[in-house]
Structures are given as C-alpha cells and as structure tokens.
Amino acid sequence: MTKVLMKGNEAVGAAAIAAGCRYFFGYPITPQNEIPEYMSRELGKVGGVFVQAESEVAAINMVYGAAGSGARVMTSSSSPGIALKQEGISYIAGAELPCVIVDMMRGGPGLGSIQPAQGDYFLATRGGGNGDYRMLVLAPADVQELVDLVIEGFDLADLYRTPVMILGDGMIGQMMEPVEFKTENKKELPAKDWATVGTGGKRKPNIINSLYLQAEDLEQHNIKLQAKFAKMRENEKRVETYNTKDADIVLTAYGTTSRIAKTAIAKLEKEGYKVGLIRPISLYPFPNEAYEEIGENTKAVLTIEMSSGQMIDDVRLSLNGKVPTYFYGRTGGMVPSPEEIVNKVKEILGGDK
C-alpha cells in the first residue's frame, strides 16, 4: 500500500474508518478539530453517522449508547474536554463497553493553552473518573504509530470490553507525516452478544448498566474488573527500548518528548556519552519490566515530560530505588529542546562519560 501524507488528526479519522468505526460523537476543541471535521466529511460516505454533540458530556454519553448497542464508536477531544468526558468514561468502564477515545493534550490546568502538553497522564492512567477502574492508554510518537494504535485500539477495546484512550498531544495531532493503513485483523474477537439490539422475542433483555446496589454484588463486579486489568497488564505492555543494558544514563519519555529525547541521544553519542532510552507506548499498562532490566552500570534515569512530572511516578515505582531518578519538564505548551535535554544529562553525569 502506498503512503499518503496526512496530518495527525485527519489520520486518526482515516484510521478509525479503516478499522470499521462508523459512529463518531464529538464537540469542537482546539487542537483536535480536524478529527470531528474529517469525520463529518467522511463518515457519511461509508454509511456512518457523525453527530456534533451539545457538549463533551453529551458526546461521551452518546458513545455509551452506541457502544452498548454494539457499534464501533469513537470520540475525541483535548484536555479540558477530556476532563468533561470523565463521567461517561467511568460509566463505560463500569458497564464494560468498548470504545476509542482520543485525547490530543494541550496545556493546563483550567483552560490552559492550545499548545501541546502532557499534563493528562494522571487523568488517563489512573482512570480519571470516579471509582476503581483503569483503561488501556496508548501513546503514539509519530503519525504512523498514531494510525496503527487507533486501528489496533478498536480491536483491543472489543477484546477487553474497555475504553481505550489514545493519548497524543497538539504536536502529534497537527504534524504531517507519510502514513499507510494496515488493517489485517490479527485478533479473534468475541461476539457482542451483550449488546442492545432488541430482544426479538428470543432472549431475555440485555441490560447495559454500571449500577450494583448490593455491596456484595458491586465488590464482585470490581473483582471481575480488576482481573481484566490484570490480564491487560499481562498481555498489553508495549515499549521501545534503546541501549538500556550498557548506558550511563537512560532517558525515558513518551509521545512527542520521546522524539526530542532521541535527537538529544544522537547529539550526546557524538560526544561520547552512552545514553539509553525507554519509550513507553502503553502508559496503562505501564511497561515496568523495561526499567527493571536496566544495566548495572547505569548511574541515572532521566524522565522527560511536557508536564511538571507525572509519568515519573510510574518510573520511580518501576525502578523501586534501583537507580537515582531525575526529571526535566516544560509546561504550559512549551516544548523542551534537544539542547536542554543534553545540558540536563551533562549536569546529572557531571562530565562523566
């Protein structure tokens, strides 16, 4: 298949349609408007439905209705809008419905800015809404990976009956790169016999629900959900590693910042430094083993984020005190430069090569 040059946000729409998504419910917010715009233009051509909802809250509840009805369905937004969707995401997780949610993160807190940021890591990986739940969170670093993860995200959502969040940022959404769409269905997916389609008079009613008034029943439901999350941790960790066995320092970053880290590593290598990289692709489940496997000679791990330090909590938990950890971050829509990272590495290593 030939590659086409596409903007990240439009590629999300194209990938969703390629994955068989025919329903999109969204609300405008910068910097992800090209996703609903693309879906409004293209879904009708393939017999799908686009609805511009009255709010993000309504949009995610439309997703709940469509997902419960057995459809492949997606919504997208950016940070403040994703905050509004938390109500519905919690219900979707509780009722065990599959859907894909795209968050093209922007600066915060509050209305923040419209420039790229990574301040929604906690919101995405800790559940975000009320109650004890997690969802699959996948963080692409380029437009091709964004496409691949959206397509695979729909399968994973169906497989685990879970919301899947694609955690990008304004940079990934706005940049143009060549992409191709690979849609070979690799997974055997379970039938959606739980969906509401009408009983047809042939079975008992299907009920889409997250309410369990008896404490004993809700605890059992939570135990079942936790078992599912454990299965995700067992099977769905994704990570890219580079030179982690023989590095003096290992950088770790996801999404946009991982690309800047790679540029910094190339510069540092030219100067003779031995630098590794751990790039989590799945943020939940977090690829903790990659940190446990860091070589004995590594003196430090440096976490780089476009936040004040959120993923670093998972890095510290994974390292469990094994190696000193450092942090470098920019916020508010500011993007760290390779030079800033190079300088931080030199500061940590104190000139040791």
Binding site: Y23, F25, V49, V51, A53, E54, S55, V57, A58, A59, N61, M62, V63, Y64, G65, A66, A67, G68, S69, G70, A71, V73, E87, G88, Y91, A95, T196, V197, G198, T199, G200, G201, P205, N206, I207, I208, N209, S210, L211
Partner: protein, 248 residues
C-alpha cells in the same frame, strides 16, 4: 373463566421498589402496554435515568441501558443512530430531565432525534430524599427548601413541556396526569400517539406525566392525588402543546 385483565408482557415479573401510592407503577404499565399494543416491545431499547426510576431496566421487558444522571437523551441518541429501525425511549424524572439533563433534552429535541421521552414530573427529588427540584412549586417544602421554595432566590418552577414545544425539532409535546382513571386513559392515549410519532419518523416526542410522591411530599397517597390536582395542574396545565401538522 374469561380473562378480563392481565399484566402486560411489556413488564417483567420483578416486584418494583416504588413506595406505596407512587404513580411510577401506573406510568410503567402505560408505557409497557403502549409498546405491546404497537408491536414494538421486541425491538425496543429503553434508557433508564438516575432517580427513583433508576431500576426501570429491571422492570421493562426489553433491552435497556442505565444512563448517567440527565444523560438519557444523549445515550438514546447514540442508540437510535446505531439502530434507526429500533424503537428507542427514555424514561426520566424531573431532577434528571429538567435540572442536570436540561442541555441533553433540549438538544435531543433540537436535533429532532427520533426517540420518545417519558418525563415523570413529581416536583421533587424522590430517590435522594425530597430535595428541591427545578419543578418544585413556590412555597412547597423540600429538604433543601425547608421554609418552602422561595421565588426570590430559586426562581419559579420550570415548565419543560412549554419550553420544549418552542423547539422546531420537537414533533410531539403533551402534558398528562395520572391522578384519576380518566386522566390515566388520556395519558395512555398521549403515550401511544407520541410513540407513533417515532415510528412514523416524524421527530422527537415527549409526554410529561404529572406524578405524585406521597413519601417526600409527606402526605397520604389519597391526599397526594388531590394535591396534584389542586396545586400541580393549575401551574402545569394539561394538554397537547405540539403535534405534527399544526400551524405554528
């Protein structure tokens, strides 16, 4: 012996949790009978709200969703867009529809979503224990309006049927009550008519049903029926506010 009356197949055999004298049971029956009479029960998908009727998914004998507070019209939008040939309805109370879900009901009507809404207005938050609703009458006591609803600080009760009737996408809007056998018959007729609007693809339809809450009103079921008639109907007049073919 000839059968003169039997429970509708539109309801399950599960005993309801409603308080003695509550009219939810009557309204459930009317909705269920209407679905059976129109032959849509087997392809119906309903949406239960948050409020006293949160467990409606256990009582209606069709596929059901339980929705977040006020979001039933958004959930129903998602369902109906996926299954345009299924019969889709929401069943919502006044806290759910007129307060937290005001945006969702207004915009579902505004888009002309082709589902039907049963709006049960008992002028109070029942399930949470009698707090003031947007529909609580002036002077009516509630646990969050212990001295009676004060117009100066809380405004006047909101009339949702009148409001929704101003929206072009709303094809059918009617307010009924279930306080007397005659009114119950009229309510059934309105529900049937509203459901037919959906089946004919004419747009959004809503039936507001004035209902009682003896428990939280603090009066007997019989007194509650009288209170509804003497206090609610004068403020919330019964009748049709909109139906297709009317000159506007």
């Amino acid at each position: 012996m000839a059968m003169v009356f039997e429970k509708t197949k539109g309801l399950t055999d599960k005993p309801t949790h409603y308080c003695p004298g509550c009219t939810h049971g009557i309204i459930h029956r009317l909705v269920a009978e209407a679905m059976v009479e129109l032959g849509v029960l087997e392809n119906a998908i309903g949406v239960a709200p948050v409020g006293c009727s949160v467990l409606a998914y256990d009582y209606f004998n069709c596929d059901m969703h339980q929705a977040a507070h006020g979001r039933a019209p958004a959930v129903a939008t998602g369902i109906k867009r996926v299954h345009p040939n299924n019969f889709v309805f929401t069943y919502q109370g006044d806290g759910d529809l007129a307060s937290i879900g005001a945006a969702e009901i207004v915009h579902a009507a505004h888009r002309g979503e082709k589902f039907s809404t049963i709006f049960v207005n008992n002028a109070i938050y029942g399930m949470t224990g009698g707090q003031m609703a947007p529909t609580t009458l002036i002077g009516q006591k509630a646990t969050t309006a212990p001295y009676g609803r004060d117009e100066a600080t809380t405004g006047k009760p909101i009339r949702m049927s009148e409001l929704l009737a101003t929206i072009d996408g709303a094809a059918f809007v009617e307010r009924v009550a279930v306080n007397t056998p005659a009114n119950i018959r009229k309510a059934k007729k309105a529900i049937l008519e509203c459901f037919k609007i959906q089946l004919e693809g004419k747009g959004f339809g809503i039936v507001e049903v004035l209902s009682t809450c003896p428990t939280n009103w603090g009066i007997t079921p019989v007194e509650a029926m009288k209170w509804l008639e003497n206090n609610m109907i004068p403020y919330y007049p019964l009748g049709n506010f909109k139906k297709p073919g009317e000159v506007e």
